[in-house]
């Protein structure tokens, strides 16, 4: 089981150039959105079978395939919309995920990205603080739809600690790069924390205590997305 977690917590590639964007200089732009979503799609593709394997234990055995299909479609959406604002691009990504992922993950991840996009669309300037607010809005959208709280063994168990870590880092005077790194680390830790949990939401909850000992696939996908975010802000 340990190995499963490690596969997620060790991204295969680190985007080079730890160049130092000056503090506060970070602004969300269309290129950032592309880097983030393309990277997330490639990580999900790499882990597709692993995600499905996780889902087979406590869900419907389709998570990897569904997420791969959805993120592939999201990348295609970005390629066919060369001119959008970052907020509108992320909203399009969200809409694509809702319709192309299917299952529960489609509406949940789709709503997350739509909320992120909507919040960034209204942000002026779209800086690190705005990105934090957007990620938090994404979490709120997911929680409104799924009624999940931390500890229910869902994607919230990775997303919530990631957003909180991002916020703590920014409040402590850290850069967006440092914030995103702490978010990715917290998301990975959140995934590992789902192992001993008993699922209280989603199909996995039907299994009752049999869900204990399995890593949550939705939380795992969330950690992949935050890992991609970390590389995209650099």
């Amino acid at each position: 089981m340990d190995g499963w977690c490690h596969r997620v917590s060790r991204p295969t590639t680190r985007r080079g150039g730890v160049g130092s964007p000056a503090l506060g200089a970070f602004l969300v732009d269309a290129e950032f959105v592309r880097r983030w979503i393309v990277d997330a799609a490639s990580r999900i593709e790499e882990e597709r079978d692993f995600l499905t394997q996780l889902d087979a234990a406590i869900g419907d055995a389709d998570h990897g395939v569904n997420m791969h299909r959805g993120f592939t479609a999201a990348v295609a959406t970005l390629q066919s919309s060369p001119d959008g604002s970052p907020g509108s691009l992320l909203q399009e990504v969200g809409t694509t995920l809702v319709y192309r992922v299917g299952g529960a993950a489609g509406p949940l991840f789709g709503t997350g990205f739509r909320q992120i996009g909507a919040t960034l669309s209204e942000a002026d300037p779209p800086d690190g603080e705005a990105l934090l607010s957007a990620l938090r809005a994404g979490l709120a959208g997911i929680q409104a739809l799924g009624a999940a709280a931390p500890g229910d063994k869902t994607m919230v168990d990775a997303w919530e600690p990631a957003v909180s870590a991002f916020e703590r880092t920014l409040r402590a005077g850290g850069s967006v790069v440092e914030g995103a790194r702490s978010a990715a680390d917290a998301a990975n830790a959140g995934v590992e924390a789902t192992l001993p949990m008993q699922a209280r939401k989603g199909r996995a909850s039907y299994l009752g205590s049999r869900s204990i000992g399995h890593q949550d696939p939705g939380a795992t996908s969330t950690a992949l997305i935050f890992g991609a975010l970390e590389r995209a802000v650099r």
């Binding site: 087979a56 299952g103 529960a104 949940l108 989603g202 009752g208």
Partner: protein, 267 residues
């Protein structure tokens, strides 16, 4: 965690060692593998006693010891017992044909459930006939208020039972789960008129269910049969009329097979 049996045989008429053996089986049912010490710690039973009980259960093939780790897990006899439970279940036995033909007819997954306390126990599940990978849900336990099976059943129970069900834990499974007793009561009233229950992403986001109650020879609800699947296919613009008709027909037919008279097989 499942309901605990009496703490340590402290009730009149219970036998402590049987009680303890049953608790060991339950705790093994919720973990992949456990050692004697772990079981002893969890159940607060002396290690020597746990060891003796495990040896006895092992002889009956109810538990087995992993040769590598020395830890224990449930044994093959448990599967046979579980299957016997299902085989001897009248509603399940009678539902096999109806559920299979319903799934073929509508092209979606079909479930048959019975009430077990305040949750619906899935006793039969037919996969959506599309060759996709699906996970068998037989044995799954779903809170009654979050699924159409449970609501279809609850709509036809006597008032006292309905009130008890409405006083149960109504925790949300999604943002759309009905958790307000008064709203649920009104929904049950409507279901008892329509004869069909609909659930819209109240158990799993993106998933919907349409269920019909099944009645026994006394005219009491015995369980329910449902079609379950993606919300966009089941409820494209409200419940798809063809699906509602098919589910209702299966519920009626199954009720007749259960011996329910014409009058009892409502809906």
């Amino acid at each position: 965690m499942a309901t605990r049996v009496s703490a340590a045989g402290d009730r009149h008429g219970t036998i402590q060692s049987v009680d303890r053996a049953a608790r060991i089986l339950r705790v093994l049912g919720s973990s992949p593998r456990l050692g004697v010490t772990e079981i002893s710690d969890q159940l607060k039973i002396a290690k020597a006693t746990v060891h003796g009980l495990l040896r006895t259960l092992e002889q009956q093939e109810l538990v087995e010891q992993d040769p590598n780790s020395g830890k224990y897990r449930l044994g093959a006899a448990m599967l046979q017992l579980g299957n016997s439970f299902l085989d001897n279940h009248e509603l399940r036995a009678r539902s096999l044909m109806w559920a299979g033909s319903l799934a073929t007819r509508v092209g979606e997954a079909v479930r048959v459930g019975v009430m077990n306390g305040e949750t619906v126990l899935i006793v039969h599940h037919v996969f959506r006939p599309d060759n996709s990978v699906q996970i068998l849900e037989v044995g799954a336990s779903i809170p009654w208020h979050a699924c159409a099976l449970g609501k279809a059943f609850a709509a036809f129970v006597p008032p006292a039972r309905r009130t008890a069900l409405l006083a149960a834990d109504l925790s949300p499974l999604t943002g759309r789960t009905m958790t307000e007793p008064s709203l649920l009561r009104a929904a049950l009233e409507e279901i008892s008129t329509l004869g069909v229950a609909v659930e819209d992403q109240e158990a799993v986001v993106g998933e919907a269910e349409i269920a019909s109650p099944v009645f026994d020879h006394r005219g009491d609800p015995a369980g329910a049969i449902s079609v379950v699947g993606p919300v966009e296919r089941l409820l494209p613009d409200g419940p798809a009329p063809a699906l509602v008709a098919a589910v209702r027909e299966a519920g009626r037919g199954l009720s007749r097979d259960m011996g329910a008279g014409r009058f009892a097989a409502r809906g």
